[in-house]
Symmetry: D2
Subunit: 140 residues, 4 copies
Amino acid sequence: MTRASRPSARATDDLIRAARSARRRAYAPYSGFHVGAAVLTGSGAVASGCNVENASFGLSICAERAAVHLAIAEGHRRLLAVAVSSGPAEATPCGACRQVLAEFGVRTVIIDRPRGDPLVFDLADLLAHPFAGTRLRRRS
Amino acid sequence: MTRASRPSARATDDLIRAARSARRRAYAPYSGFHVGAAVLTGSGAVASGCNVENASFGLSICAERAAVHLAIAEGHRRLLAVAVSSGPAEATPCGACRQVLAEFGVRTVIIDRPRGDPLVFDLADLLAHPFAGTRLRRRS
Amino acid sequence: MTRASRPSARATDDLIRAARSARRRAYAPYSGFHVGAAVLTGSGAVASGCNVENASFGLSICAERAAVHLAIAEGHRRLLAVAVSSGPAEATPCGACRQVLAEFGVRTVIIDRPRGDPLVFDLADLLAHPFAGTRLRRRS
Amino acid sequence: MTRASRPSARATDDLIRAARSARRRAYAPYSGFHVGAAVLTGSGAVASGCNVENASFGLSICAERAAVHLAIAEGHRRLLAVAVSSGPAEATPCGACRQVLAEFGVRTVIIDRPRGDPLVFDLADLLAHPFAGTRLRRRS
């Protein structure tokens, strides 16, 4: 992927704003770590989500995946980019989120930072040699 | 919980309709099993979701949890009921979804059926003696 | 299930001992909640596990599931009972674990307690009206 | 990490053999995709696991994580390498497994292939800029 395929500065700003807004809704009573995320779809729509933890830690969901799930539920199937905002402690997506982002073709990962410009990564670099479902027989 | 605290017939119909609609967006290429769900919040709002599968099966999310995550991202914290629609093969929520529903106080589980009235359960019966986070120290 | 099908007092003691021992290996730096579990297989073998948390909370695994996964990796396919030990804060299995226990036919859930006899439940009561894969087409 | 820190040819062979053996126990009725994995611990021990699927797809576990969980339950805390065997359809670990491998310091990922030498990756390349729990306050 070339940098040319990255979201415009304006789209990037919009995504970060949506991620920051979603972060305020995070339900993180067990970690105290609040995260928001927003995905940009192939048709230019934005869907956002926050982390939602659970008393059984393994049932917690990250913000990135919550945002993807919402975009899919809204009928989108191709996703272009994701922005992540986690406040003072900037963080990249965990491996699970990278895998879910890859399922729908996300190319660009934008990390909001408390100061300065956001960090921008290609998902292909964050999840090199990805596991893919192409060899699994599909049913629908 | 008494039956009196269950959603009204009208609210139940609305929830089922939302669950059916969400089901049409399900992303289930690996199982071919399409599910939609909708939750009713304490303030009367409805949030819906569908199952979103992944090539790495363990990263798949069920419709019920997707709907909960959306409600939380919209700022709700108390949930009352959930409706689930899975087409010809009616199904109750899996154990993971029951646990996530319990985190936010859901009391009523409504199962859409191809024919006849929906099935209605109390979550307290579907997840008796639940694991609870009350003994975990909270941070926020 | 009748009480007659429950493990003997001796088998129950063995399971609890194995669960307590596994608990000492728990990796729980994020919750501080240490849990061990042991499953009894159809052929009388015992497999145990502990919870293993992750910085990405959603990738944490509970002790009960870890024990099941080990039993399966050792070639067992039918499981009879599980014992859970969580120290001073006794706890029942979360919904996710109940679902995984059900996949392999577990019938009895034994909860170790700091004082007094263990609590014993039928899984059928802890996961009533379970979601089952019988309607999913199997491939192998 | 330099290549010098990779497992020896002999240790690599042992790991692959363990992964292949574990693969024969895989429980994969829903995908038909059988995978085995083995991890090498800091003290030279080997722990193996297989994928264990569930009717609720999201509760499925991959072989790599099952192997890690077993190593932890056996008291190990530092892991060096993992081998993965998936038969004719060679596959790299999914993002979730990469994150769990990273939690315990795994450096080398070995992919068994039906023909020819195994593929060998550095986990640092498969999960660049990892999400880490270092900023989360630990409790134990």
